[in-house]
Structures are given as C-alpha cells and as structure tokens.
C-alpha cells in the first residue's frame, strides 16, 4: 500500500534500486537469483503492507537464504517498507541494511537470517502458532536456496511440516544448481515423499510463478521449486 506522496515503483525500477547497493550495473548472481520470485510474492501473492507490519493476520514471508539480500531490500524499498534513501548505505555501520537481514532493524523483515538452515524451522513454528491462535487466513512463505537445503535442519522441518499437514506453509526453493552434491531426482521429489504438494517452475516467469504459488489448495504444505539459470543474472 503506497503512501500518497511516494512514487510507486514497478519491476523495471528494481535494477536501478539494486544499483544503489552494488554501485554496479552487473549484479552478483546470488543477489538476483531471487529477484523475480521476491517481486511476484510482494506484488501479487503476499497480503502484507508497510502499514500492517504488526498485523497478526498478515502473511509472513521468511527469507531463510539471507545471503545476497540486495534483491530483497530492493523489493522492500519498491513496496515502501523502507526508504529508497536507505539503500546506498548498504552494509554501513549506521545502516539498518546488512549483508544479512536483521528483523529488529528492518520493518517488514520477519526473521533475521544469514546462517543457513534456520528459516524452515522457524516457519514450521510460525505456521503452528498461527493455527493455534486462529489466524487461519495468514500464510507463511519461506524462501530457501537449493544449497541451503543441504543443512540437515531442513530435513527435520520438511518431515514434520508434512506429517502435521501444515497447509498454511509454502516453501519456495530457488534452484540455481548451487548444491555441491546435487539432488538426484529433483528437489520437489524430496518434498513430495514427505507429503508436500509440489510445483516446478521457471523462476523468471512471473505468471508461472503466480500460478505455482496459488496452486496449493489442500491441507498439505506446498513447495515451489523455482529454477533459475546460474549463469544469467538479470
């Protein structure tokens, strides 16, 4: 929800916002692999807004893969969660915007992350808590990387989310083929065997991403595996 005096930003503005942080037209792959997924989530899926960051009924987006958060900050700035003027100080001593996000410093950021493998466990707890408090409309979306899935903590969370039928939980895996040992049979299969509904999708195709995120219709947790070419940062 835009404040009246703030210019509204679209997807085409994100590159310029990223440049305020990187100072370079060519962006690091780890920063931009998430860009389209984040944009689709904040533009079309999540029921969140800067004026309701404490609303108990808001959807929760948990960025578990806290590395390379420039795309995240760019989207949050485009959606007016934080001032565009904060972006250039990225990583500075007085800046709220670190190389890994801190929920206590940035409005709208639901978890502090950076150490890999924490977001999915926190998301399971959040999904359980929303169910216990009767916040049935609020969805939890957690973003992890394919390499991050190597952390064993994710296996614990994937199993339990499946067994407890956490239909209010969606995991989006950014698969840019960076896992060192790989995932024979694909990532979605690992979730499917634990009882999740799954979608594989082109991580740059906004309409396909929207369809994948809205495909969850039952009481199973849902995973969207967003495939992104590691060689072609946009």
């Amino acid at each position: 929800m835009s404040a009246p005096n703030q210019a509204s930003h679209g997807y085409d503005d994100l590159a310029a916002l990223l440049t305020l942080m990187t100072g370079d037209e060519k962006h690091d792959a780890s920063a931009t692999s998430t860009l389209d997924v984040l944009w689709v989530l904040y533009d079309r899926i999540l029921r969140v807004a800067p004026d309701r960051v404490d609303d108990p009924d808001r959807d929760r987006f948990l960025l578990s893969k806290g590395h390379g958060p420039m795309a995240y900050y760019a989207v949050l700035a485009a959606k007016h969660f934080l001032p565009v003027a904060d972006l250039p100080a990225f990583g500075g001593f007085d800046s709220p915007l670190g190389y890994h996000p801190d929920r206590t410093l940035v409005p709208g950021v639901e978890i502090g992350s950076g150490s890999l493998g924490h977001g999915l466990g926190l998301a399971v707890g959040t999904a359980l808590g929303l169910r216990m408090t009767g916040r049935d409309r609020a969805a939890v979306v957690v973003l992890v990387g394919d390499a991050e899935l190597e952390e064993g903590s994710n296996a614990e969370a994937i199993q339990v989310a499946g067994r407890r039928h956490l239909g209010n939980l969606t995991t989006v895996v950014i698969d840019n083929s960076s896992a060192s040992a790989g995932w024979p049979g694909g990532i979605a299969a690992r979730f499917a065997v634990e009882g999740w509904s799954t979608r594989d999708v082109d991580g740059r195709d906004h309409d396909a991403l929207e369809r994948a995120f809205t495909a969850a219709t039952d009481d199973r947790p849902h995973v969207v595996v967003a495939h992104v070419d590691p060689e072609e940062p946009r």
Binding site: G121, G125, T126, R135, S153, E156
Partner: protein
C-alpha cells in the same frame, strides 16, 4: 512461598521433573498462550492430555534443531513456548538455534531441562549436561533458574510463563529437604559468619550447610543465578573471600562474583563439576565425590580456602 506463587500439594517422593510433568497439562489448560514443545523425551507423560489442549503439545520427534527452531517461530506468533528435553540436547545439540532462533530473533521461550549435570550417570558423558549454564553465559538476556526443591521449581516456572523473555529452568533429580522462598530472584542468607561467604546454588544448599557446620562463614543460597544477585553478596560481605558451590561446571559464576566485587580486593574459589571427561558411570554420589562436591569434599575445600593465609 507467597500467595501468588502458592504451589500444588506435595506428592511424596516427587522430584522437580515429576512436578513439572504433573503441572504441565493444567498450565496449558489455564493459559491458552502456552505451548509445550518436546522432542520425544518425556512425551509419554503427556499422552493422556485432554483434546482441548492436545494441539498445544507439539512433539517434533527426535529433532532438537527443529525443537528450538519451531519454538522461535511459535514465539514470533505470540505464543509462549515451554521447550523441554535433557540439558545436553536442549542447550548443546541445538546451540545455534538457541543463539539465533530465539536470541537473534529477539524472542523468548522457557527452556526446561532435565537430567542436570549427571542425574543419569549410568548413561555416561553423552548425557552429562554440566556445561549448560556456562554456555548460556555467552548469550545475552537469559534468566537462569536452578531450583533446589520441587516447590521452588514450580514457583519459578509459574513466574516465567507470563513473560516473553528467555528463561532457562534447570531441573534436577536431587533436592534440598525443604523449599525456600525464591520468588524475588534474590539470594537468601542461610547463615551469618565473618570469615568469608559461601554461595550455594540450587540442590547443593543442604549439603553446603552441613559441610560448613561450625565454620565462621556466611552461607548464601541462590536458586536464580542469572541475573546474579550482586547486591546481596556485597551487602552481606564481611570478609572478601567468596566460595561458589555450583552443581554445574566449576567456575561458571566466577566472573559474576568478580564483577560484583569490582573495586574490592577479593579472592574467589569456584567449586562444581570439573571439565575433564570422567568416562565413569555409577551413581550421582560417585560423581559428587569425584568432583569434590560431596559433603566431605566441600568441607575440605572451603576450610582450606578460608584458612589459606592463617
């Protein structure tokens, strides 16, 4: 006990952990914000809970990382998680989750451990938990309770539930004969003397009193060790020689005493569980003796310390 921390009736032979399990269903029923998060350990005690609270007993299975991570997520939604397993698994195995999924997120939980340092010596080193309080000392904002009696454990648990802060409640099988008033987090004066102060923590109070019988020392009792009650130590201090008697890693609170007595020339002796792997089994009394915190060992060490410069 003050009225608002009144405890339930006592069951003969009941230890701190038994009391915790007996209380938990009623607490969950009375306080809708509470959720018990378990990792198989002790889950059988809660199998018969009424359906109305069953959804707030979350057993994540043998997954300690998820145990603490899920507690962090639950706290983010405003719930108050009571997280329980053995000390070694609760504080050590999921250490980064304790650090990041609670502290770094700026949320809290009540971590309730069982097993203490070596409540199950037959189990050996894998189940010894004497490093827990020292580990939590590396983090910010933890309150640490070490009750010395089931009534104290109950009072401290009840007092921790309304908040949103980070609380560690360390339950032991061993207890003192009678409970003491621990409601304000302050140390209690058990005996006054003039040749130094002995601080007895939790279940070691009775034994410390017996070990110092006839010695001219002040004996203080602490069931809450973080925050450390520096004020009572300073205001009761006659001679600046302090002995810590702690049921966990030896020297854990030495830095707290040093801070409390800053500006005073003083001496500190830390007694407790040694850091060497013992690789021994047996019964708790064997390990008390091994670490010199049985009654005779305490008397020897304390007497030696206060008479060192006679």
């Amino acid at each position: 006990m003050s009225a608002d921390t009144a405890t339930t009736r006592t069951v003969p032979g009941e230890n701190q952990r038994d009391r915790f399990y007996r209380l938990l269903p009623g607490l969950l029923a009375d306080q809708p914000r509470l959720v018990a998060v378990l990792a198989e350990i002790s889950v059988n005690y809660l199998e018969e809970v009424p359906p109305s609270i069953a959804d707030r007993v979350v057993n994540v299975g043998i997954r300690e990382q998820l145990l603490v991570g899920a507690a962090g997520g639950l706290a983010l939604t405003g719930m108050r998680p009571i997280v329980h397993t053995f000390a070694a698994f609760l504080v050590e195995r999921a250490w980064e989750q304790v650090k990041l999924d609670l502290g770094h997120q700026g949320v809290g939980a009540v971590l309730v451990s069982a097993g203490a340092s070596y409540d199950w010596p037959e189990g050996g080193e894998t189940h010894f938990g004497h490093r827990d309080v020292a580990l939590l000392d590396t983090l910010d904002g933890w309150t640490v309770h070490v009750p010395g009696h089931p009534d104290e454990a109950e009072a401290l648990l009840r007092a921790a539930l309304p908040g949103d802060d980070r609380v560690y409640l360390r339950l032991a099988s061993d207890s003192n004969r009678l409970p003491r008033d621990v409601s304000d987090g302050r140390m209690r004066v058990l005996r006054r003397g003039s040749r130094g102060t002995v601080i007895a923590v939790g279940p070691l109070a009775d034994r410390t009193l017996a070990a110092t019988e006839g010695l001219d020392v002040t004996v203080l009792y602490a069931a809450t060790v973080r925050p450390f009650d520096a004020e009572t130590l300073r205001t009761t201090l006659d001679s600046p020689d302090v002995v810590l008697v702690e049921p966990y890693l030896r020297g854990t609170s030495t830095a707290e005493v040093t801070a409390a007595l800053r500006g005073l020339r003083h001496r500190v002796l830390g007694l407790g569980v040694g850091r060497n792997e013992s690789r021994r089994y047996g019964v708790p009394a064997d390990h008390d003796r091994l670490h010199g915190i049985d009654e005779a060992g305490l008397r020897r060490a304390i007497t030696g310390f206060i008479t060192e410069f006679d």
